[in-house]
Protein backbone atom coordinates (compact mmCIF):
# COMPACT_ATOMS: atom_id res chain seq x y z
CA UNK A 1 0.00 0.00 0.00
CA UNK A 2 1.20 3.47 -0.80
CA UNK A 3 1.70 5.89 2.02
CA UNK A 4 0.51 9.48 1.68
CA UNK A 5 3.55 11.74 1.47
CA UNK A 6 3.71 14.44 4.12
CA UNK A 7 4.19 17.18 1.56
CA UNK A 8 3.88 17.29 -2.21
CA UNK A 9 4.49 20.17 -4.56
CA UNK A 10 2.83 19.61 -7.91
CA UNK A 11 4.08 21.89 -10.67
CA UNK A 12 3.78 24.98 -8.46
CA UNK A 13 4.00 28.33 -10.21
CA UNK A 14 3.94 31.80 -8.69
CA UNK A 15 4.22 34.97 -10.73
CA UNK A 16 4.38 38.47 -9.29
CA UNK A 17 3.55 40.69 -12.24
CA UNK A 18 6.14 39.72 -14.80
CA UNK A 19 8.50 38.12 -12.27
CA UNK A 20 8.40 34.34 -12.28
CA UNK A 21 9.29 33.73 -8.65
CA UNK A 22 8.44 30.03 -8.88
CA UNK A 23 8.23 28.45 -12.31
CA UNK A 24 6.97 24.89 -12.10
CA UNK A 25 8.38 23.15 -9.03
CA UNK A 26 7.49 19.62 -7.99
CA UNK A 27 8.79 17.47 -5.18
CA UNK A 28 7.66 14.89 -2.67
CA UNK A 29 8.54 14.73 1.01
CA UNK A 30 7.94 11.33 2.67
CA UNK A 31 6.54 11.32 6.18
CA UNK A 32 9.19 11.69 8.87
CA UNK A 33 11.93 12.92 6.56
CA UNK A 34 13.68 16.25 6.15
CA UNK A 35 13.66 18.14 2.88
CA UNK A 36 16.14 20.95 2.38
CA UNK A 37 15.21 23.59 -0.16
CA UNK A 38 18.56 25.02 -1.06
CA UNK A 39 19.19 28.08 -3.14
CA UNK A 40 20.51 31.62 -3.14
CA UNK A 41 18.48 34.70 -2.20
CA UNK A 42 15.60 35.25 -4.58
CA UNK A 43 15.60 31.65 -5.84
CA UNK A 44 11.91 31.27 -4.96
CA UNK A 45 12.28 29.27 -1.74
CA UNK A 46 10.15 31.58 0.38
CA UNK A 47 7.45 31.78 -2.28
CA UNK A 48 7.32 27.98 -2.33
CA UNK A 49 6.92 27.78 1.44
CA UNK A 50 4.28 30.51 1.40
CA UNK A 51 2.23 28.61 -1.15
CA UNK A 52 2.52 25.27 0.63
CA UNK A 53 1.52 26.84 3.95
CA UNK A 54 -1.51 28.57 2.34
CA UNK A 55 -0.17 32.08 2.95
CA UNK A 56 -0.17 32.80 -0.74
CA UNK A 57 -2.24 31.42 -3.58
CA UNK A 58 -0.34 29.69 -6.44
CA UNK A 59 -0.62 31.19 -9.92
CA UNK A 60 -0.97 27.59 -11.11
CA UNK A 61 -0.21 24.09 -9.90
CA UNK A 62 -1.02 22.91 -6.42
CA UNK A 63 0.35 21.01 -3.47
CA UNK A 64 -0.72 18.66 -0.71
CA UNK A 65 0.12 18.77 2.94
CA UNK A 66 -0.75 15.67 4.99
CA UNK A 67 -2.85 14.62 2.01
CA UNK A 68 -4.90 17.83 1.93
CA UNK A 69 -4.95 20.02 -1.14
CA UNK A 70 -3.62 23.51 -0.42
CA UNK A 71 -6.19 25.11 -2.71
CA UNK A 72 -9.22 22.98 -1.87
CA UNK A 73 -8.74 22.30 1.84
CA UNK A 74 -6.67 25.16 3.22
CA UNK A 75 -8.11 24.82 6.72
CA UNK A 76 -7.16 21.13 6.95
CA UNK A 77 -3.69 22.07 5.70
CA UNK A 78 -3.39 24.76 8.38
CA UNK A 79 -4.31 22.24 11.06
CA UNK A 80 -1.50 19.95 9.96
CA UNK A 81 1.41 22.35 9.82
CA UNK A 82 3.56 24.61 11.87
CA UNK A 83 5.40 27.52 10.28
CA UNK A 84 8.47 29.39 11.39
CA UNK A 85 8.89 32.31 9.04
CA UNK A 86 11.97 34.09 7.86
CA UNK A 87 11.60 36.95 10.27
CA UNK A 88 10.61 35.57 13.64
CA UNK A 89 6.94 36.51 13.79
CA UNK A 90 6.55 36.54 17.52
CA UNK A 91 4.69 39.46 19.03
CA UNK A 92 7.39 41.61 20.58
CA UNK A 93 5.15 43.41 23.01
CA UNK A 94 3.70 40.23 24.49
CA UNK A 95 5.70 38.11 26.89
CA UNK A 96 6.87 34.69 25.78
CA UNK A 97 4.05 33.05 27.70
CA UNK A 98 1.44 35.40 26.26
CA UNK A 99 2.66 34.63 22.74
CA UNK A 100 1.86 30.97 23.31
CA UNK A 101 -1.45 31.82 24.92
CA UNK A 102 -2.39 33.96 21.92
CA UNK A 103 -1.63 31.26 19.36
CA UNK A 104 -3.08 28.51 21.56
CA UNK A 105 -6.35 30.33 21.86
CA UNK A 106 -6.42 30.97 18.11
CA UNK A 107 -6.07 27.19 17.61
CA UNK A 108 -8.88 26.75 20.13
CA UNK A 109 -6.72 24.52 22.31
CA UNK A 110 -7.93 23.84 25.86
CA UNK A 111 -6.50 26.33 28.39
CA UNK A 112 -5.07 23.55 30.53
CA UNK A 113 -3.27 22.06 27.56
CA UNK A 114 -1.82 25.46 26.60
CA UNK A 115 -0.48 25.96 30.12
CA UNK A 116 1.12 22.54 30.28
CA UNK A 117 2.49 22.66 26.76
CA UNK A 118 3.96 26.11 27.43
CA UNK A 119 5.87 24.81 30.46
CA UNK A 120 7.09 21.82 28.50
CA UNK A 121 8.19 23.82 25.44
CA UNK A 122 9.85 26.58 27.46
CA UNK A 123 11.70 24.00 29.47
CA UNK A 124 12.85 22.27 26.31
CA UNK A 125 13.89 25.49 24.56
CA UNK A 126 15.53 26.94 27.63
CA UNK A 127 13.15 29.89 27.85
CA UNK A 128 11.63 29.29 31.28
CA UNK A 129 13.52 32.16 32.89
CA UNK A 130 12.41 34.56 30.16
CA UNK A 131 8.80 33.35 29.98
CA UNK A 132 7.34 36.47 31.57
CA UNK A 133 9.51 39.01 29.79
CA UNK A 134 8.41 40.91 26.70
CA UNK A 135 9.73 39.19 23.59
CA UNK A 136 11.43 42.38 22.46
CA UNK A 137 13.96 41.91 25.25
CA UNK A 138 14.95 38.52 23.79
CA UNK A 139 18.14 37.88 21.85
CA UNK A 140 17.95 36.73 18.23
CA UNK A 141 18.41 33.09 19.19
CA UNK A 142 15.78 33.28 21.94
CA UNK A 143 13.29 34.87 19.57
CA UNK A 144 13.84 32.10 17.06
CA UNK A 145 13.34 29.48 19.78
CA UNK A 146 10.17 31.23 20.95
CA UNK A 147 8.97 31.29 17.35
CA UNK A 148 9.64 27.57 17.13
CA UNK A 149 7.84 26.94 20.43
CA UNK A 150 4.83 28.84 19.08
CA UNK A 151 4.94 26.77 15.88
CA UNK A 152 5.08 23.53 17.86
CA UNK A 153 2.30 24.36 20.32
CA UNK A 154 -0.32 22.31 18.51
CA UNK A 155 2.27 19.54 17.83
CA UNK A 156 1.93 19.70 14.06
CA UNK A 157 3.13 16.59 12.22
CA UNK A 158 4.72 18.80 9.56
CA UNK A 159 6.91 21.80 10.24
CA UNK A 160 7.98 24.37 7.67
CA UNK A 161 11.02 26.46 8.50
CA UNK A 162 11.98 29.35 6.28
CA UNK A 163 15.68 30.07 6.80
CA UNK A 164 15.50 29.09 10.46
CA UNK A 165 19.07 30.03 11.31
CA UNK A 166 19.64 33.12 9.16
CA UNK A 167 21.16 35.83 11.31
CA UNK A 168 22.01 33.52 14.22
CA UNK A 169 25.45 33.21 15.72
CA UNK A 170 27.15 29.79 15.32
CA UNK A 171 26.33 28.75 18.87
CA UNK A 172 22.61 29.47 18.54
CA UNK A 173 22.64 27.84 15.14
CA UNK A 174 24.01 24.53 16.37
CA UNK A 175 21.58 24.69 19.30
CA UNK A 176 18.69 25.04 16.88
CA UNK A 177 20.01 22.20 14.73
CA UNK A 178 20.02 19.92 17.75
CA UNK A 179 16.39 20.81 18.49
CA UNK A 180 15.39 20.16 14.90
CA UNK A 181 17.09 16.76 14.86
CA UNK A 182 15.22 15.86 18.03
CA UNK A 183 11.94 16.75 16.37
CA UNK A 184 12.80 14.48 13.47
CA UNK A 185 13.48 11.55 15.78
CA UNK A 186 10.04 12.13 17.25
CA UNK A 187 8.56 11.70 13.79
CA UNK A 188 8.02 15.29 12.65
CA UNK A 189 8.45 15.96 8.94
CA UNK A 190 10.55 19.04 8.21
CA UNK A 191 10.69 21.23 5.15
CA UNK A 192 13.37 23.84 5.56
CA UNK A 193 14.79 26.44 3.27
CA UNK A 194 18.35 27.54 3.59
CA UNK A 195 21.10 29.40 1.83
CA UNK A 196 23.66 27.54 3.88
CA UNK A 197 24.97 24.44 2.17
CA UNK A 198 26.35 23.25 5.45
CA UNK A 199 22.91 23.40 7.00
CA UNK A 200 21.26 21.40 4.22
CA UNK A 201 24.09 18.87 4.34
CA UNK A 202 23.72 18.63 8.09
CA UNK A 203 19.97 18.26 8.43
CA UNK A 204 18.38 17.16 5.20
CA UNK A 205 17.71 13.61 3.99
CA UNK A 206 16.88 14.96 0.59
CA UNK A 207 17.95 18.23 -0.99
CA UNK A 208 16.17 20.12 -3.72
CA UNK A 209 18.36 22.79 -5.25
CA UNK A 210 16.30 25.74 -6.48
CA UNK A 211 17.56 28.52 -8.68
CA UNK A 212 15.52 31.21 -10.46
CA UNK A 213 12.25 29.51 -9.61
CA UNK A 214 13.07 26.07 -10.96
CA UNK A 215 14.57 22.88 -9.57
CA UNK A 216 18.07 22.44 -10.94
CA UNK A 217 19.00 19.33 -9.00
CA UNK A 218 17.61 16.97 -6.40
CA UNK A 219 18.93 14.05 -4.42
CA UNK A 220 20.56 13.04 -1.18
CA UNK A 221 23.52 15.14 -0.06
CA UNK A 222 25.86 12.29 -1.11
CA UNK A 223 24.32 11.96 -4.56
CA UNK A 224 24.64 15.68 -5.12
CA UNK A 225 28.26 15.67 -4.07
CA UNK A 226 29.01 12.81 -6.41
CA UNK A 227 27.57 14.85 -9.24
CA UNK A 228 30.07 17.60 -8.63
CA UNK A 229 32.92 15.25 -9.42
CA UNK A 230 35.46 13.15 -7.62
CA UNK A 231 37.67 13.93 -4.70
CA UNK A 232 40.88 15.83 -5.28
CA UNK A 233 44.32 16.08 -3.75
CA UNK A 234 45.24 19.59 -2.76
CA UNK A 235 48.93 20.41 -2.43
CA UNK A 236 50.31 23.61 -0.95
CA UNK A 237 53.96 24.30 -1.77
CA UNK A 238 56.41 26.02 0.52
CA UNK A 239 58.01 27.96 -2.38
CA UNK A 240 56.00 29.44 -5.24
CA UNK A 241 59.03 28.86 -7.53
CA UNK A 242 58.39 25.11 -7.36
CA UNK A 243 54.97 25.51 -9.01
CA UNK A 244 55.93 24.34 -12.53
CA UNK A 245 58.07 21.32 -11.57
CA UNK A 246 55.43 20.28 -9.03
CA UNK A 247 52.71 20.47 -11.68
CA UNK A 248 54.76 18.30 -14.06
CA UNK A 249 55.32 15.81 -11.29
CA UNK A 250 51.62 15.56 -10.52
CA UNK A 251 50.57 15.29 -14.15
CA UNK A 252 52.49 12.04 -14.31
CA UNK A 253 50.12 10.59 -11.74
CA UNK A 254 46.77 12.30 -12.30
CA UNK A 255 44.81 12.95 -15.51
CA UNK A 256 43.76 16.42 -14.48
CA UNK A 257 45.86 18.94 -12.59
CA UNK A 258 44.73 22.45 -11.80
CA UNK A 259 47.22 25.18 -11.00
CA UNK A 260 46.02 28.32 -9.33
CA UNK A 261 48.13 31.03 -10.95
CA UNK A 262 49.94 33.30 -8.56
CA UNK A 263 49.43 30.93 -5.65
CA UNK A 264 51.34 28.02 -4.17
CA UNK A 265 48.43 25.66 -4.60
CA UNK A 266 47.79 22.75 -6.96
CA UNK A 267 44.73 20.55 -7.21
CA UNK A 268 44.69 17.15 -8.85
CA UNK A 269 41.74 14.85 -9.44
CA UNK A 270 42.03 11.74 -7.35
CA UNK A 271 40.16 8.51 -6.81
CA UNK A 272 40.68 8.46 -3.09
CA UNK A 273 43.16 7.93 -0.29
CA UNK A 274 45.39 5.64 -2.42
CA UNK A 275 46.06 8.43 -4.90
CA UNK A 276 46.83 10.82 -2.10
CA UNK A 277 49.47 8.60 -0.49
CA UNK A 278 51.05 7.91 -3.88
CA UNK A 279 51.34 11.64 -4.63
CA UNK A 280 52.70 12.25 -1.13
CA UNK A 281 55.43 9.64 -1.74
CA UNK A 282 56.36 11.23 -5.09
CA UNK A 283 56.84 14.64 -3.48
CA UNK A 284 58.81 13.07 -0.63
CA UNK A 285 61.18 11.56 -3.16
CA UNK A 286 61.44 14.74 -5.29
CA UNK A 287 62.67 16.99 -2.51
CA UNK A 288 60.07 19.70 -3.25
CA UNK A 289 59.07 21.18 0.09
CA UNK A 290 55.37 21.15 0.99
CA UNK A 291 53.39 23.11 3.55
CA UNK A 292 50.33 20.95 3.30
CA UNK A 293 48.85 18.03 1.44
CA UNK A 294 45.31 16.75 1.80
CA UNK A 295 42.27 15.10 0.25
CA UNK A 296 39.29 17.36 -0.48
CA UNK A 297 35.81 16.05 -1.11
CA UNK A 298 33.44 18.33 -3.02
CA UNK A 299 31.23 20.42 -0.80
CA UNK A 300 27.70 21.41 -1.62
CA UNK A 301 29.14 24.75 -2.54
CA UNK A 302 31.09 23.01 -5.29
CA UNK A 303 27.84 21.32 -6.29
CA UNK A 304 26.15 24.66 -6.65
CA UNK A 305 29.07 26.11 -8.57
CA UNK A 306 29.01 23.06 -10.82
CA UNK A 307 25.25 23.37 -11.43
CA UNK A 308 24.92 27.10 -11.91
CA UNK A 309 28.37 28.47 -12.49
CA UNK A 310 27.82 30.73 -9.46
CA UNK A 311 28.55 30.41 -5.80
CA UNK A 312 25.54 29.91 -3.56
CA UNK A 313 26.63 31.24 -0.23
CA UNK A 314 25.36 34.70 0.53
CA UNK A 315 28.08 37.24 1.10
CA UNK A 316 28.62 37.48 4.82
CA UNK A 317 26.64 40.50 5.92
CA UNK A 318 28.91 43.50 6.31
CA UNK A 319 27.83 45.13 9.53
CA UNK A 320 24.90 43.85 11.53
CA UNK A 321 21.40 44.65 10.33
CA UNK A 322 19.87 47.85 11.68
CA UNK A 323 19.97 47.94 15.44
CA UNK A 324 16.93 47.33 17.61
CA UNK A 325 13.79 46.76 15.61
CA UNK A 326 11.58 49.76 15.12
CA UNK A 327 9.48 50.83 18.02
CA UNK A 328 6.72 48.33 18.80
CA UNK A 329 3.31 47.93 17.35
CA UNK A 330 0.40 50.31 17.43
CA UNK A 331 -3.11 49.23 18.10
Amino acid sequence: MDVTPAVEAIDLVKHFGTTRAVDGVSFVVPEGSVLGLLGPNGAGKTSLVRMLTTLSVPTSGTGRVAGHDIREQPNEVRRSLGLTGQAATVDEILTGRENLRLIGSLYGLPKKYIREATERLFDRFDLTDAADRMARTYSGGMRRRLDLAVSLLATPPILFLDEPTTGLDPHSRSGLWAVLRELVTEGTTLVLTTQYLEEADHLADEIVVVDKGTVIAAGTPTQLKDRAGKASVVVTLTHAADLDPAADLMRAHSPEVHVEPGSRRLTAQAGGLGDMTRIAAVFEASGIELDDLGLARPSLDDVFLHLTGRRAEAEPAAGAPAGPTTEGATT
Partner: protein, 281 residues
Protein backbone atom coordinates in the same frame (compact mmCIF):
# COMPACT_ATOMS: atom_id res chain seq x y z
CA UNK B 1 -0.70 8.36 -9.12
CA UNK B 2 -2.20 6.76 -6.06
CA UNK B 3 -5.49 7.60 -4.48
CA UNK B 4 -5.05 10.41 -2.02
CA UNK B 5 -5.82 9.57 1.55
CA UNK B 6 -7.22 12.44 3.50
CA UNK B 7 -6.67 11.09 6.99
CA UNK B 8 -4.47 13.47 8.94
CA UNK B 9 -1.06 12.21 9.94
CA UNK B 10 -0.74 10.91 13.50
CA UNK B 11 -4.07 12.10 14.91
CA UNK B 12 -3.62 10.31 18.22
CA UNK B 13 -0.63 12.28 19.49
CA UNK B 14 -2.14 15.71 18.88
CA UNK B 15 -4.17 17.92 21.22
CA UNK B 16 -7.76 18.65 20.19
CA UNK B 17 -7.88 21.62 17.81
CA UNK B 18 -11.20 23.45 17.84
CA UNK B 19 -10.77 26.45 15.57
CA UNK B 20 -12.49 29.40 17.22
CA UNK B 21 -15.52 31.20 15.84
CA UNK B 22 -15.07 34.58 14.20
CA UNK B 23 -16.25 36.28 17.39
CA UNK B 24 -13.89 34.36 19.67
CA UNK B 25 -10.92 34.80 17.38
CA UNK B 26 -11.65 38.54 17.09
CA UNK B 27 -11.84 38.82 20.88
CA UNK B 28 -8.46 37.12 21.14
CA UNK B 29 -7.01 39.71 18.76
CA UNK B 30 -8.62 42.49 20.81
CA UNK B 31 -7.04 41.00 23.95
CA UNK B 32 -3.66 41.08 22.26
CA UNK B 33 -4.10 44.65 21.03
CA UNK B 34 -5.21 45.85 24.46
CA UNK B 35 -2.07 44.33 25.99
CA UNK B 36 -0.13 46.45 23.50
CA UNK B 37 -1.91 49.57 24.76
CA UNK B 38 -1.28 48.61 28.37
CA UNK B 39 2.41 47.90 27.80
CA UNK B 40 2.92 51.06 25.78
CA UNK B 41 0.71 53.71 27.33
CA UNK B 42 2.53 56.22 25.15
CA UNK B 43 0.40 54.85 22.30
CA UNK B 44 -2.54 56.49 23.99
CA UNK B 45 -0.91 59.92 24.02
CA UNK B 46 -2.74 60.80 20.82
CA UNK B 47 -6.12 60.37 22.45
CA UNK B 48 -5.32 61.36 26.03
CA UNK B 49 -2.77 64.13 26.51
CA UNK B 50 -3.33 65.45 23.01
CA UNK B 51 -7.10 65.43 23.48
CA UNK B 52 -6.89 67.44 26.67
CA UNK B 53 -4.42 69.79 25.04
CA UNK B 54 -6.64 70.34 22.03
CA UNK B 55 -9.70 70.98 24.16
CA UNK B 56 -7.83 73.49 26.29
CA UNK B 57 -6.12 75.15 23.32
CA UNK B 58 -9.34 75.69 21.46
CA UNK B 59 -11.37 76.56 24.52
CA UNK B 60 -8.96 79.18 25.86
CA UNK B 61 -6.66 80.27 23.02
CA UNK B 62 -9.08 80.41 20.08
CA UNK B 63 -12.31 80.30 22.02
CA UNK B 64 -12.29 83.90 23.14
CA UNK B 65 -12.19 85.07 19.53
CA UNK B 66 -14.93 82.78 18.24
CA UNK B 67 -18.52 83.77 18.88
CA UNK B 68 -21.23 81.12 18.64
CA UNK B 69 -24.74 82.45 18.49
CA UNK B 70 -27.03 80.96 21.13
CA UNK B 71 -24.34 78.96 22.91
CA UNK B 72 -20.97 79.38 24.53
CA UNK B 73 -17.88 78.22 22.63
CA UNK B 74 -16.83 75.49 25.06
CA UNK B 75 -20.22 73.83 24.77
CA UNK B 76 -19.97 74.11 20.98
CA UNK B 77 -16.40 72.80 20.87
CA UNK B 78 -16.76 69.49 22.70
CA UNK B 79 -19.01 67.60 20.24
CA UNK B 80 -16.83 68.80 17.35
CA UNK B 81 -13.56 67.71 18.85
CA UNK B 82 -15.05 64.33 19.82
CA UNK B 83 -16.01 63.74 16.19
CA UNK B 84 -12.47 64.58 15.18
CA UNK B 85 -11.16 61.95 17.61
CA UNK B 86 -13.47 59.33 16.12
CA UNK B 87 -12.30 60.22 12.60
CA UNK B 88 -8.75 59.62 13.72
CA UNK B 89 -9.62 56.00 14.58
CA UNK B 90 -9.20 55.33 10.89
CA UNK B 91 -5.59 56.45 11.11
CA UNK B 92 -5.07 54.30 14.19
CA UNK B 93 -6.51 51.21 12.51
CA UNK B 94 -4.48 51.83 9.35
CA UNK B 95 -1.19 52.15 11.22
CA UNK B 96 -1.92 49.08 13.34
CA UNK B 97 -2.81 46.97 10.33
CA UNK B 98 0.24 48.01 8.32
CA UNK B 99 2.40 47.24 11.30
CA UNK B 100 0.89 43.76 11.64
CA UNK B 101 1.35 43.12 7.92
CA UNK B 102 4.92 44.39 8.00
CA UNK B 103 5.99 42.48 11.09
CA UNK B 104 4.59 39.16 9.88
CA UNK B 105 1.82 38.92 12.46
CA UNK B 106 -0.77 38.64 9.70
CA UNK B 107 1.29 35.85 8.10
CA UNK B 108 1.46 33.94 11.34
CA UNK B 109 -2.26 34.45 11.74
CA UNK B 110 -2.95 33.22 8.21
CA UNK B 111 -1.08 29.98 8.87
CA UNK B 112 -3.61 29.11 11.60
CA UNK B 113 -7.01 27.47 11.09
CA UNK B 114 -8.82 30.69 12.05
CA UNK B 115 -11.52 32.69 10.23
CA UNK B 116 -9.44 35.27 8.37
CA UNK B 117 -11.72 38.30 8.86
CA UNK B 118 -10.95 38.04 12.59
CA UNK B 119 -7.74 40.00 12.16
CA UNK B 120 -9.74 42.92 10.70
CA UNK B 121 -12.63 42.69 13.11
CA UNK B 122 -10.31 42.51 16.12
CA UNK B 123 -8.28 45.42 14.80
CA UNK B 124 -11.41 47.55 14.24
CA UNK B 125 -12.83 46.84 17.67
CA UNK B 126 -9.62 47.69 19.45
CA UNK B 127 -9.33 50.94 17.47
CA UNK B 128 -12.86 51.87 18.50
CA UNK B 129 -11.92 51.17 22.11
CA UNK B 130 -8.80 53.28 21.64
CA UNK B 131 -10.80 56.22 20.29
CA UNK B 132 -13.50 55.79 22.91
CA UNK B 133 -10.88 56.22 25.60
CA UNK B 134 -10.05 59.52 23.91
CA UNK B 135 -13.70 60.57 23.84
CA UNK B 136 -14.02 59.71 27.53
CA UNK B 137 -10.92 61.74 28.41
CA UNK B 138 -12.34 64.67 26.46
CA UNK B 139 -15.69 64.29 28.15
CA UNK B 140 -14.08 64.56 31.57
CA UNK B 141 -12.00 67.56 30.47
CA UNK B 142 -15.16 69.10 29.03
CA UNK B 143 -17.08 68.57 32.27
CA UNK B 144 -14.32 70.36 34.16
CA UNK B 145 -14.54 73.44 31.91
CA UNK B 146 -18.29 73.66 31.86
CA UNK B 147 -19.52 71.37 29.07
CA UNK B 148 -22.71 69.41 29.92
CA UNK B 149 -25.06 66.95 28.24
CA UNK B 150 -28.25 68.92 28.76
CA UNK B 151 -31.06 66.92 27.14
CA UNK B 152 -31.24 63.81 29.30
CA UNK B 153 -29.81 60.32 29.24
CA UNK B 154 -31.51 58.94 26.12
CA UNK B 155 -30.42 61.75 23.82
CA UNK B 156 -27.02 61.75 25.49
CA UNK B 157 -26.47 58.06 24.80
CA UNK B 158 -27.82 58.40 21.27
CA UNK B 159 -25.18 61.05 20.57
CA UNK B 160 -22.39 58.71 21.67
CA UNK B 161 -23.88 55.86 19.63
CA UNK B 162 -23.84 58.07 16.54
CA UNK B 163 -20.17 58.81 17.23
CA UNK B 164 -19.38 55.10 17.44
CA UNK B 165 -21.34 54.33 14.28
CA UNK B 166 -19.40 56.98 12.42
CA UNK B 167 -16.14 55.69 13.88
CA UNK B 168 -17.02 52.23 12.58
CA UNK B 169 -17.65 53.68 9.10
CA UNK B 170 -14.35 55.54 8.83
CA UNK B 171 -12.45 52.49 10.09
CA UNK B 172 -13.05 50.88 6.69
CA UNK B 173 -11.17 53.75 5.12
CA UNK B 174 -8.33 52.94 7.51
CA UNK B 175 -8.35 49.24 6.62
CA UNK B 176 -8.30 50.14 2.94
CA UNK B 177 -5.34 52.49 3.30
CA UNK B 178 -3.56 50.11 5.70
CA UNK B 179 -3.85 47.26 3.20
CA UNK B 180 -2.54 49.35 0.31
CA UNK B 181 0.50 50.93 1.95
CA UNK B 182 3.74 49.25 2.90
CA UNK B 183 5.09 51.22 5.85
CA UNK B 184 3.63 52.75 8.98
CA UNK B 185 5.33 56.05 8.13
CA UNK B 186 3.64 56.35 4.74
CA UNK B 187 0.27 55.47 6.29
CA UNK B 188 0.77 58.14 8.90
CA UNK B 189 1.72 60.75 6.31
CA UNK B 190 -1.20 59.90 4.07
CA UNK B 191 -3.85 59.68 6.77
CA UNK B 192 -2.88 62.95 8.39
CA UNK B 193 -2.96 64.70 5.04
CA UNK B 194 -6.51 63.45 4.53
CA UNK B 195 -7.75 63.80 8.11
CA UNK B 196 -6.83 67.42 8.71
CA UNK B 197 -8.84 69.03 5.90
CA UNK B 198 -11.61 66.52 6.51
CA UNK B 199 -11.98 67.54 10.14
CA UNK B 200 -11.21 71.27 9.77
CA UNK B 201 -13.28 72.12 6.70
CA UNK B 202 -16.43 71.47 8.71
CA UNK B 203 -18.30 72.92 11.64
CA UNK B 204 -15.97 71.02 13.99
CA UNK B 205 -14.29 74.06 15.55
CA UNK B 206 -16.12 77.07 14.14
CA UNK B 207 -19.62 77.78 12.89
CA UNK B 208 -19.83 77.59 9.10
CA UNK B 209 -21.69 80.90 8.69
CA UNK B 210 -18.54 82.98 8.43
CA UNK B 211 -16.97 80.87 5.64
CA UNK B 212 -17.04 82.00 1.97
CA UNK B 213 -20.18 80.54 0.45
CA UNK B 214 -18.43 77.91 -1.72
CA UNK B 215 -16.41 76.69 1.25
CA UNK B 216 -19.45 76.76 3.46
CA UNK B 217 -21.28 74.44 1.04
CA UNK B 218 -18.39 71.98 1.12
CA UNK B 219 -18.15 72.20 4.91
CA UNK B 220 -21.86 71.65 5.44
CA UNK B 221 -21.93 68.63 3.15
CA UNK B 222 -18.90 67.21 4.93
CA UNK B 223 -20.10 64.13 6.87
CA UNK B 224 -18.12 65.37 9.86
CA UNK B 225 -20.41 68.41 10.12
CA UNK B 226 -23.58 66.33 10.22
CA UNK B 227 -22.28 64.22 13.12
CA UNK B 228 -21.07 67.26 15.05
CA UNK B 229 -24.39 69.02 14.46
CA UNK B 230 -26.32 65.90 15.53
CA UNK B 231 -24.35 65.63 18.78
CA UNK B 232 -24.80 69.35 19.49
CA UNK B 233 -28.55 69.10 19.05
CA UNK B 234 -28.84 65.88 21.03
CA UNK B 235 -26.72 67.21 23.87
CA UNK B 236 -28.12 70.74 23.83
CA UNK B 237 -24.72 72.21 23.00
CA UNK B 238 -25.62 74.53 20.17
CA UNK B 239 -28.39 76.09 18.18
CA UNK B 240 -30.42 74.24 15.58
CA UNK B 241 -29.13 74.97 12.07
CA UNK B 242 -30.62 78.07 10.47
CA UNK B 243 -32.86 77.89 7.39
CA UNK B 244 -29.99 78.96 5.11
CA UNK B 245 -27.78 76.02 6.20
CA UNK B 246 -27.36 73.08 3.81
CA UNK B 247 -29.87 70.24 3.90
CA UNK B 248 -27.72 67.75 5.89
CA UNK B 249 -27.49 70.19 8.80
CA UNK B 250 -31.29 70.57 8.85
CA UNK B 251 -31.59 66.79 9.40
CA UNK B 252 -28.33 65.97 11.18
CA UNK B 253 -29.36 62.76 12.97
CA UNK B 254 -30.80 61.08 9.90
CA UNK B 255 -27.84 62.31 7.85
CA UNK B 256 -25.31 61.02 10.40
CA UNK B 257 -26.78 57.55 10.03
CA UNK B 258 -27.00 57.92 6.25
CA UNK B 259 -23.40 59.15 5.90
CA UNK B 260 -22.16 56.27 8.05
CA UNK B 261 -23.98 53.76 5.87
CA UNK B 262 -22.81 55.38 2.63
CA UNK B 263 -19.17 55.51 3.76
CA UNK B 264 -19.36 51.88 4.87
CA UNK B 265 -20.93 50.90 1.55
CA UNK B 266 -18.10 52.59 -0.35
CA UNK B 267 -15.09 51.70 1.75
CA UNK B 268 -15.95 48.26 3.17
CA UNK B 269 -15.80 46.51 -0.24
CA UNK B 270 -12.65 48.43 -1.20
CA UNK B 271 -11.06 47.56 2.14
CA UNK B 272 -11.94 43.87 2.00
CA UNK B 273 -10.74 43.46 -1.57
CA UNK B 274 -7.49 45.34 -0.91
CA UNK B 275 -6.83 43.22 2.18
CA UNK B 276 -7.62 40.02 0.25
CA UNK B 277 -5.32 41.06 -2.57
CA UNK B 278 -2.57 41.87 -0.13
CA UNK B 279 -3.18 38.51 1.53
CA UNK B 280 -2.86 36.46 -1.64
CA UNK B 281 0.84 37.00 -2.17
Amino acid sequence: MTAVQTTPVKPASRPPIHPPSLVRASMTIVWRNLIHIRRMPEMLLDVTVQSVMFVLLFAYVFGGAIAVEGSNYREFLLPGIMVQTMVFSSAIVAMGLTNDLQKGFVDRFKSLPVPRPAVLVGRSLSSLIHSSIGVAVMGVTGLLIGWRVRNGVVDGVLGFLLLLLFGFAVIWLGIWVGSLMRTVESVQGFMFTVMFPLTFVANTFVPTESMPSWLRTIAEWNPVSAIAQACRELWGNGPIAGPEAAWPLQHPIAMSIAWSLVLTAIFAPLAVSAFRRRSRD
